[in-house]
Symmetry: C2
C-alpha cells in the first residue's frame, strides 16, 4: 500500500457513521513519546536525527501494529505527497514542512498514524469516526504497549512521560474531537462556545490544528492539560461530560433555527446545493462553506442530494493536493477551481 | 386606465428592443417649464399651489396629448402608489415624497409623463426603449408645442426658458440614457467611464437619479448644461457622439471578458441563474445584481433561460411596491423576499 492508493476515497474515520455523527466528525487521540537517554529532537545533530529515524522506522514496521501499515519518508516525499498527508490529517503541518529526517507510518484504513521525529521522537495518533474517545484511547494504549516493547521511553517517576514541550509532560496525551458546528455559527453563538471551552480548560481550533482558521464551520476541541491524571480519567470526562455539552449546544441551535428561521435555512440550503451544482469554478474555501451548509441541510432533512459520507468525502477530495494527485499533475489555482467544480458536479449528479 | 393596470408588465420603454439594446436600456428627455407671471413653486403659498395644480391638470387632460392619458393626484395617492410611480420612473423620488398639491399625467404606454408642481410647474418627460434620443426629443417638442397652446411659459429673450433651478435655465432640457454596464463593472473600468463622463461634461448617476447608488450595474448618463445651444444640437451630439463612446467601451469590455476570462464569465452566469432558480428568499438588491449578470449572459449567448424583455420586466416587477401591488397587500421585507423568489422561479420555469 502506498500514498497514491489513498486519493480516491476518504479514510475510515471520515465515513460519517460513528456515534453522534450529526455533530461529531471524528475523535482523535495522540500520545507523545521520547526515547530515554537520547536528546530531544531539537537538540540532536542532523546525523543523529537520521539514525533515530532509521531505527524507529525499522522497529515500527517490524512490530506488526496494524493491518497494511506503510511508511512514508516525509523528508524524501514530494510537495504534493506531503500536502496530501496534511489534508488527510495523517501528519501535522509542521511535520510536513520541516526539513530534517522524518517520516510517518500509516495503517491501511488510516485510523493509525505514527509520526517519527515530529516535535517528539514519536507521536502516535488514533482517529475514529464520530464520538469514540474511550475506544480510541484503548487503541492508542495498545500501540503504546507495542512500542514500549521496542523502545525504552523517557519517563520520570514523578512527572510521567517527558516531552519536548512542557505542556505535554505527564501522560503525553492529547484528546481532540472535530465538531461540525454550523448551527452555532449561523445563530451567532460561537462566542458562547468559545467561552464555555475556556471555562472547561479546553482549546478550540480550526480544521488543521493550532493557528488555523475554522473553515466550513469545523472546529477541533482538545484538552489543554496532560499532567496529574490518568489517560482514562481524561477520556471519560472529555467524552462523557465536556463534548456532550457542545453537542447539546449545537443541536439546540439547529432546532431553534428549524423552528424559528425555517425559511432562512431552506433558502440557505437550496442556494448552497444550486451553487455547488452550477459553479464552473470554485475555490477550496467556498467549497468548504457550501458543503458545510449542505451537510447541515442533510442532517436536518432539508436536502437528500447526497448522503453524509459522500459529503464528508468531498470535503477531503476537493482539497488542492488531492485534486492534483487525482489528476496526476500540478495545476494552477484556476485549473484546480475548474477541476473542483467538475468533480463536485459529477458527484452530485451521481447522487 | 389607472395605476393598478400597470403592475403586471413593464412599460413600452422597457421592452428591451430599441436600438443598441444590448447596452442602452432607454432614452429619456425632460423639459422643465414654468408659467409666466406666476412665482416658482417654492415661492407659492399652498393655496396657490393647489390652484395651479387644478388648472394644469385640466389643461393637460383636455389637450389630448397622447392615447389613454390618465392623471394621478400624487398628494392624494397612497404610499404604495407613489412608490410604484418611482419604481416605474414616472415621477422623481422628490415628487413622490413631497407634501404639497401635485400630480402626474401618464400616457397609456408610459412613454410620456408630465409632472405637475415638481421643482418646476411642469416637467414633461418622454421615455423610449434603447437609444432613440432624436425621436424622444421630437416627441417632447410636440408635447411642448401642445402645452404652449394652453399656457404662457416664462421665457427670457436672452436666457431662454426660466426654471426654478439655474442649472436648467435655457432649453430646460435634460437628456439622459440608462445604460447597462456590467462589462465595465466586472472589468473594474467604471472609474475610466466616470472620468470620461466628466471630460464630456456629463453626469453619471444610479438607477433612480441624483444621489442614488448604481444597482444592477445600471447607470444614468445625462447632460449637465442646458444653456447656449438648441435642443436638436444637444440631442445630436449626445446621441451620435457621446453615448456611442460609452457603448463602445462597454462592448469592448464584454468582448475582452469573453476572450480572456470566458471561464470566469460562464461561472458567474451559471451561478446567477442557479441562484435565481433556487432562492427561497431574495432581496431586491441581490435580485438586481443577479438579473444584471443574467442579462449580460443573455446578450453574450451564455444563457437562454429567459429573453431580454422578460429579464427587463423582472427588474421592475420584483421591486417592493410592485410586489405589494401585485399581491394587493402590504408585506414585511421577509414576505417580500419570499414572494420575490417565488415570482422569479415561476417566470424562469415559464421560460
Amino acid at each position: 500500500m502506498t500514498l497514491a492508493d489513498l486519493t480516491q476515497h476518504a479514510g475510515e474515520w471520515l465515513r460519517g457513521a460513528g456515534p453522534m455523527h450529526d455533530v461529531v466528525i471524528s475523535s482523535r487521540v495522540r500520545l507523545a513519546r521520547n526515547l530515554a537517554g537520547t536528546p530531544f529532537l531539537s537538540r540532536c545533530p542532523r546525523e543523529q536525527q537520521a539514525e533515530l529515524e532509521q531505527k524507529m522506522r525499522q522497529e515500527i514496521l517490524s512490530a506488526e501494529l496494524a493491518k497494511g501499515i506503510f511508511y512514508v519518508d516525509v523528508a524524501a516525499a514530494g510537495d504534493l505527497d506531503r500536502e496530501l498527508l496534511v489534508e488527510r490529517h495523517l501528519v501535522s503541518r509542521q511535520h510536513a514542512e520541516a526539513s530534517h529526517p522524518r517520516g510517518v507510518a500509516v495503517s491501511g484504513d488510516e485510523t493509525i498514524s505514527i509520526m517519527v521525529n515530529e516535535e517528539d521522537h514519536l507521536r502516535m495518533q488514533v482517529l475514529r469516526s464520530g464520538l469514540q474517545l474511550p475506544e480510541a484511547v484503548a487503541d492508542a494504549n495498545r500501540i503504546d504497549d507495542a512500542m514500549e516493547r521496542c523502545f525504552d521511553f523517557a519517563f520520570h517517576s514523578r512527572y510521567g512521560y517527558l516531552t519536548a514541550c512542557p505542556t505535554n509532560v505527564g501522560t503525553g496525551l492529547r484528546l481532540s474531537v472535530m465538531l461540525h458546528l454550523p448551527g452555532l455559527k449561523l445563530a451567532g453563538e460561537m462566542d458562547k462556545a468559545f467561552r464555555a471551552a475556556g471555562d472547561m480548560r479546553l482549546a478550540i481550533r480550526g480544521l488543521y490544528g493550532e493557528g488555523t482558521e475554522a473553515s466550513g464551520d469545523f472546529f477541533q476541541i482538545s484538552n489543554q492539560t496532560t499532567l496529574g491524571r490518568s489517560e482514562n480519567q481524561y477520556a471519560e470526562e472529555f467524552s462523557e461530560r465536556l463534548i456532550p455539552a457542545f453537542i447539546e449546544y449545537e443541536r439546540r441551535a439547529r432546532k431553534h433555527l428549524m423552528d424559528e428561521q425555517n425559511a432562512l435555512l431552506e433558502d440557505k440550503v437550496s442556494r448552497a446545493v444550486a451553487t455547488l451544482r452550477s459553479a464552473k469554478m470554485i475555490s477550496s474555501e467556498e467549497t468548504m462553506s457550501l458543503l458545510s451548509v449542505m451537510r447541515l441541510g442533510t442532517n436536518l432533512g432539508l436536502t437528500d442530494d447526497m448522503d453524509l459520507s459522500a459529503i464528508n468525502e468531498l470535503f477531503l477530495l476537493t482539497q488542492p493536493a488531492h485534486l492534483q494527485k487525482i489528476h496526476r499533475r500540478d495545476m494552477t489555482p484556476q485549473e484546480r477551481a475548474q477541476c473542483r467544480a467538475d468533480m463536485i458536479r459529477r458527484r452530485l449528479d451521481a447522487g
